[in-house]
């Protein structure tokens, strides 16, 4: 059974497959980068490597919440590059009892384009992120 990391963002829970995650680090000073992807927050110095960081809420078109002490950067690897994803918190490692396909008709969730499914964790539902779509590598940009 696949393991997932459950992330908190704007009061909601999301999940990323653990195999996609390189490491999770505390928030570092971010150097802004004037690139044409609006959700890119900037770059950080990750032990000598320069790694771009995107804001997950900016990606979903939401306001960036004030960063608390629980905020983290999740480093994922995509193709050749490592990319950081800024989240409000990292909650737990979980495996889901059941994974449902993402709702296609729900217009309420702006972020539905970025989901690969909905995981059932006990009586709670957690949105499973489609990493490629989140990073904008699905070619929809």
């Amino acid at each position: 059974m696949k393991n997932y990391i459950v992330l908190g963002l704007n009061g909601e829970k999301y999940a990323l497959s653990i195999s996609e995650i390189q490491e999770i680090i505390k928030v570092q000073p971010i150097t802004e980068v004037p690139c044409d992807k609006p959700f890119v927050k900037g770059v950080i110095n990750l032990r000598g490597r320069i790694v771009p960081v995107i804001g997950l809420s900016a990606r979903f078109g939401a306001e960036e919440a004030e960063q608390g002490s629980s905020a983290r950067i999740v480093i994922v690897s995509s193709e050749a590059d490592d990319i950081g994803i800024g989240v409000d918190s990292v909650d737990q490692v979980a495996s889901f009892d059941e994974i449902l396909p993402p709702a296609t008709d729900s217009s309420a969730v702006a972020s539905r384009d970025y989901l690969s499914g909905i995981g059932k964790l006990g009586d709670r539902l957690v949105s499973i992120l489609d990493l490629k779509a989140v990073l904008g590598l699905r070619g929809e940009l």
């Binding site: 000073p29 004037p34 992807k37 770059v43 032990r47 490597r49 320069i50 771009p52 590059d81």
Partner: protein
């Protein structure tokens, strides 16, 4: 064969590359110098090696071609065939065929191209030889394939002769018998690996079974494989090297003693006699081995005593001729074998990245240690931490240096391609050219070697095609028929200088002028005002080609401007010096490495931006007086010239720190100039370039990034893009002048000491840094402020003001330490603030009046006046020597 292809292809390709270079080089030598035995031997061996390895890899077409080449040289070295230009051209065709084959293999196409008419041409050459005794030569010309002569002993005629020759030279010969493990995988490859391993310690001159039979795996497995090797190494080494390979059951190394001197004609019979003699001992030793398998050193142990003299003489005198392949490919005269390891570049880069991470962690460690030290000076543990970090610091600095060096390659790799190129060029253009290469051993970064190839080829083409006159023309002019073409590489401080010099007709400024006017680059009127030097610089303008007609070689009008663009992309400079009728010299100056560049760090809002120093022409403080607005665009005036003023804050999405009081950095690429508005000048230091993640896509005006000492990230400015978008082409009158200036730099760094402005040559200045934590040292001189740690080396810091007899400087926010090189060592000098870098041509520097600003005149080179501002240009050598800090 597929399995081979994947595992051994890269090894094979490397070897092919090496041997092709040898061939190219040697055949050229042969062409220029006639029938030299040494060269012929060299080619013969290269062809032989290639034949062997291509056969082992299953490339039959290549094997056949190399086999014929080998045959040709076999005849040549026996003086049974004479050299002709047809032969040489055919040989070059063969090399070209092998080269194209290599390219195909590189690109993953393993099927061979047909060799077409090559074999026929080669056979023609073979049959064109003067007939001596047809029957015998038929077999000689095409040996080995037919199982060759010397059938009884299994050695080929050529091999026997080679043995005899080595013997004459006094090189010990060893018979190495190798038994493969029963049922070994891919015996052919094993045998090839043994061959390669043996080649590292000496020269394999004979094989049994012969190479042609190696595809018969049964044969290789059934009995020992015998190699005859000429080597100066002790037999233990030879044996143990082979034993390290896997699936080798046993190795027996035996010195071949008593060898009759064969005459050229009767050589075969005598040699065979020798081998008949030897056939028995071989069999005997193999039999013995079956009984006592671990005996690599057994029979060998007696060998050194048998031939101590021979070994000694080899190591001193005749070594150059002994080792095969690799050494011969390199320059003649190198007497020692360099042990080398081939490493995948990716692995090296990975290591280099790791070192980069170490450096950054180390900086942070230093920081922690400093803080701890401040908090608790007495703690023993903190002191220990200090020792450890200091040591770590030194080790890391050395590690970094070592890693950088591994990226460096001798420029030979590139230069070795050129003799052939020039030969072909001169043949096509009907010129006679004497091509000389100097400084092959000069090392530079491998990426640079790759990048600089095309521009150099272009320049060499120009020289061969346009520069050097035809032989008849040269004779009329009273020059020797052969034109001279010199390619030279050398180190100059932190740069590589490559020179291409010819003694041809030079560039005619009048011709350039006519062309430029004709093409509309400049007007007649402007042209009239230009000096010759400035006119010549116009050849860097795109679309210029002065060739009267477009030839196959050059003159396509995409000439020197591309060359220059490419060189500037590498942060290099190019300069032309030409005299009509006497020749042209083109000088290219390149940084040693692309990974590290000296840059000016500036602040633009919240960003720190690095501007490669080669692009920085000058910096100056902006006042509202010299900023004006024209058509809503800002411009600034510098000494009467107008430049666009660019503010990049918007593009970089940041706000200027404070309005009004900023600096301007004049940057330039090619003939374009722009003044860049920056909030603050930070420092001048070496930075390690890192690419920005590809994920970010194109970031405007940023070409890369770098991590600074404190862990923060700086962007590297893409000067070419800024200048392209905003630069004005300054009027051509200045093109030449600037081009010259950027080579003969007269840039000076100015700084304040108290109220007086001083200047230093920028060439002396290595870095400008904030005042570091100083380590107090016991010193008699009050000028000595202490030592500090600059990336692992301890440098003294002196108070420049006190050296000049001024009162000591207080250390403030603006204080800086200028690190400079003086008298062979680095030294830091403390100054109040660094103000700017600007062009201060010597012509504008006036000689000193008797004494000024309390400074003894011997320390002053001159005074520069700009408006009513006086700048004192210092002579630091005298100054620091007088203070006892260095030897002038």
């Amino acid at each position: 064969m597929d399995h081979f292809a994947s595992t051994y292809l890269s090894v094979f390709l490397d070897e092919l590359e090496e041997q092709l270079l040898t061939l190219d080089h040697s055949i050229l030598e042969l062409e220029s110098g006639g029938n030299q035995q040494d060269t012929i031997q060299k080619i013969f061996r290269a062809a032989h090696t290639l034949k062997g390895s291509s056969a082992a890899m299953g490339f039959h077409q290549m094997k056949e071609v190399t086999h014929r080449v080998e045959s040709v040289f076999d005849l040549l070295r026996q003086d049974r065939l004479s050299l002709s230009s047809t032969l040489i051209n055919t040989l070059f065709d063969c090399i070209d065929y092998l080269k194209s084959q290599r390219e195909a293999l590189r690109q993953g196409r393993t099927e061979e191209q047909p060799h077409g008419t090559l074999l026929i041409a080669l056979n023609d050459c073979l049959s064109g030889r003067p007939a001596v005794s047809a029957g015998k030569e038929e077999t000689d010309g095409l040996p080995e394939l037919n199982g060759c002569e010397g059938t009884e002993s299994g050695w080929a005629q050529t091999e026997l002769e080679e043995m005899a020759r080595k013997r004459e030279e006094g090189v010990p010969l060893y018979l190495v018998s190798v038994t493969l493990t029963a049922g070994a995988d891919m015996p052919t490859v094993r045998a090839m690996l043994v061959h390669r391993t043996l080649s590292e310690t000496g020269e394999v001159i004979a094989l049994k079974p012969s190479l042609a039979d190696w595809e018969n795996e049964e044969l290789l497995l059934s009995g020992p494989i015998s190699y005859v090797i000429a080597s100066g190494h002790p037999p233990e080494t030879i044996g143990s090297n082979v034993l390290q390979l896997s699936q080798i059951n046993d190795v027996n190394v035996q010195l071949i003693e008593s060898f009759p001197q064969p005459g050229r004609e009767r050589g075969r019979t005598k040699a065979e006699a020798f081998l008949d003699e030897h056939a028995a001992p071989v069999a005997a030793s193999v039999a013995a081995l079956d009984a006592a398998p671990v005996s690599a050193s057994g029979p060998a142990a007696s060998a050194p005593t048998a031939a101590p003299d021979a070994v000694a003489s080899v190591s001193s005198a005749s070594l150059p001729s002994a080792p095969a392949g690799k050494l011969e490919a390199s320059a003649e005269g190198k007497a020692s074998i360099q042990q080398t390891v081939r490493v995948d570049v990716k692995r090296l880069e990975h290591l280099l990245n790791l070192v980069g991470e170490l450096i950054i962690d180390n900086t942070r460690l230093q920081e922690v240690r400093r803080k701890l030290g401040e908090r608790d000076k007495q703690d023993q543990d903190v002191a220990t931490l200090g020792e450890v970090t200091d040591h770590l610091n030194r080790v890391i600095a050395e590690l970094q240096e070592g890693m950088m060096k591994t990226r460096m390659l001798p420029i030979e790799q590139l230069f070795n391609r050129f003799p052939r190129l020039v030969r072909d060029l001169s043949q096509q253009a009907g010129k006679e050219i004497q091509f000389t290469i100097e400084g092959k051993e000069t090392e530079l970064d491998r990426t640079l070697i790759e990048e600089i190839g095309d521009p150099l080829i272009h320049i060499l083409r120009n020289a061969a095609d346009h520069g050097i006159e035809s032989p008849d023309e040269r004779e009329k002019l009273g020059k020797p028929r052969k034109g001279l073409l010199l390619l030279q590489a050398s180190h100059q401080e932190n740069a590589i200088v490559i020179r291409v010099k010819d003694d041809g007709r030079g560039i005619d400024p009048e011709k350039v002028k006519r062309k430029a006017v004709h093409k509309g680059f400049i007007t007649e009127l402007e042209a009239a005002r230009l000096s010759d030097k400035e006119l010549i610089a116009l050849i860097f303008h795109s679309g210029m080609s002065t060739a009267e007609q477009v030839t196959e070689l050059s003159g396509r009008g995409v000439g020197m401007d591309i060359v220059r663009t490419q060189i500037e992309k590498l942060n290099g400079l190019i300069d032309i010096d030409t005299t009509l009728g006497q020749g042209t010299e083109i000088t290219i100056k390149l940084p040693l490495t692309l990974a590290i560049t000296r840059s000016l760090l500036v602040e633009l809002g919240k960003h720190t931006v690095a501007i490669p120093l080669v692009h920085v022409l000058e910096t100056f403080q902006l006042s509202s007086a010299n900023i004006q607005s024209v058509h809503g665009k800002e411009i600034c005036t510098v000494r009467g010239d107008i430049f666009p003023l660019v503010r990049l804050h918007g593009k970089l999405r940041t706000e200027p720190a404070r309005a009004g009081k900023g600096y301007a950095v004049m940057i330039g690429a090619a003939e374009r100039r722009v003044c860049l508005y920056v909030d603050r000048l930070v420092a001048n230091q070496e930075i390690v370039m890192k690419p920005l993640s590809a994920y970010l896509g194109q970031v405007p005006y940023v070409s890369g990034s770098s991590i600074l000492g404190n862990g923060s990230i700086a962007y590297i400015l893409d000067v070419n893009a800024v200048v392209r978008d905003a630069g004005t082409v300054i009027d051509p009158g200045r093109v030449g002048r600037h081009a010259v200036k950027s080579v003969h730099t007269e840039k000076r760094v100015t700084f304040m000491l108290g109220d007086q402005r001083y200047a230093l040559d920028i060439g002396q200045v290595k870095e400008i840094i904030r005042v570091p934590a100083l380590l107090q040292v016991a010193s008699t001189s009050p000028e000595m402020l202490g030592m500090f740690n600059l990336r692992g080396s301890l440098l003294p810091v002196v108070d420049l003001a006190q050296c000049l007899g001024l009162s000591p400087l207080p250390i403030g926010e603006e204080s800086r330490v200028i690190v400079m090189r003086e008298g062979g060592s680095d030294i830091g000098v403390l100054v109040d603030s660094v103000t700017e870098v600007f062009n201060m041509p010597d012509s504008e520097v006036e000689t000193t009046p008797a004494a000024i600003a309390n400074v003894a005149s011997e320390f002053i080179r001159g005074i520069h006046k700009r408006g009513d501002e006086l700048t004192v240009l210092l002579r630091t050598d005298k100054l620091l020597a007088a203070s006892g800090f260095c030897i002038a």
